[in-house]
Symmetry: C2
Subunit: 121 residues, 2 copies
Amino acid sequence: MVADPLSRVFSALADPTRRDIVARLAVGDATVNELAAPYDVTVQAVSKHLKVLEDAGLVSRSREAQRRPVHLEANVFDLMTKWIERYRRQAEERYRRLDDVLRSMPDAVDTPPSPQEGTPS
Amino acid sequence: MVADPLSRVFSALADPTRRDIVARLAVGDATVNELAAPYDVTVQAVSKHLKVLEDAGLVSRSREAQRRPVHLEANVFDLMTKWIERYRRQAEERYRRLDDVLRSMPDAVDTPPSPQEGTPS
DNA sequence: CTCCTAATCAACCGAAAGGTTGAGTACCGA
DNA sequence: TCGGTACTCAACCTTTCGGTTGATTAGGAG
């Protein structure tokens, strides 16, 4: 994957197994085998999932003898949260303004999705 | 796509073009042709993107003559935000507890990511 | 009715995702 | 040194994704 950071994070969390792994890691660090245990997929598949999460910056892997404990990097969530909040706020602001406009013309339409007006272009 | 709601939302926003469309819609409703204009892809491709966003519950399409104005449903962001906040909080809480433990044993290790302890299982 | 515009549907294509099996690497323990 | 354990790498397979072109539906405008 050579996508932008935001796409990598969103895409990493678009898979339920990977979200599950993140949920598990929020409790505490774990090894690949520990993470793979609950699922009926091979440990290689989980290893691939971890690579995706790592590329997205959501987890890091250290080294402890032959074990490679996986650690959740929760701060990367900020990237998403900021993006989401930005457009949510913007959309809500817009809704509020539209509401004001409708309130300021009390004699106009009262059926919101009615496409009956002849608004010329 | 027959995935769970959360996967649909994350996956919908994993594409930069679709995030761009969401950003555009936060400013105001738009038609498919208007949305397609800035990109050098066909209008059919954009229509597909909108279908993905609609299936994720992020936008809705009404009908106004032969036009189908697209509207941003900002409230669906909540689903993501809740999921993210949950595990961020959990991870931060864990970090805080670990910090407390380390503080309560002042003679122990002082190199945070040092995997030198022989914690027996 | 006929034409134009807006948008979707359908079939297809190449690339990437998610899975598998099999081999390879790295480290510990006897 | 020889296994055994923990994990990754590589090749392959099938499904999904993002895009295309071409046909079709739906609704004004003349």
